[in-house]
Amino acid sequence: MLASRAFSLVGKRALSTSICLRAHGHAGVVKAEDFSLPAYVDRRDLPLPEVAFVKDLSAQQKALKEKEKASWTALSVDEKVELYRIKFNETYAEMNKGTNEWKTVLGGVLFFLGLTGLILIWQKRFMYGPVPHTFSDEWVAAQTKRMLDMRMNPVEGISSQWDYEKNEWKK
């Protein structure tokens, strides 16, 4: 707007910033960078993006765009698809398509958890001392009988699991 007011000598046409620059050499207006212009985006919640996907049409595509101005029944199926692909990048089906990324993620996670296990193995082998003797099989067996003999936790605990008549664990 500022540019068109400044160059009213070129006419009362609405001028885009890039045309202003060309018309006047150094304009005091910077050429519009790509990122500042409306962009194309594939989004499920945006069915009609602000610009077409293909900006610079080949000669063939330009001819097709001319043909599009006439009756659409004259267009072949392939031409219709080509027009679609000029306007849009991915179809909704392509946009929504899932990937196999989860396999890589899960596989990677499991692999690194496996490496963690290696650390544990190293620790058991090289870091920890021996397990206390009270965990040996004979000690645990004697300990268990002593617990049962003194009727430890008879209501819901260990003694309630032992059959004192048959002298065995309850089934």
Binding site: P47, V77, D78, K80, V81, L83, Y84, R85, K87, F88, T91, Y92, A93, E94, T99, N100, E101, W102, K103, T104, L106, G107, G108, V109, L110, F111, L113, G114, L115, G117, L118, L120, I121, K124, R125, V131, F135, D137, E138, V140, A141, A142, Q143, T144, K145, R146, L148, D149, I158, Q161, W169
Partner: protein, 67 residues
Amino acid sequence: LARSVQHTAVRQAHRKYEPDFHDKYGNLVLLGGAAVFSVVWGYALTQIGIEWGFSPVGRVTPKEWRE
């Protein structure tokens, strides 16, 4: 209008997509990772003498303790 063309036409003229890393190696990474995990933890949990402190119920035969 352009999107409705999709229903008839794109089915036939579908763009071929180059398989990505996950398509090519996803299964391999998944199974490989699962294999490494199972082997390492299978060994760690059973073979290196970790005391898990399992309950004696149903497992231990009580032994006389009085001297």
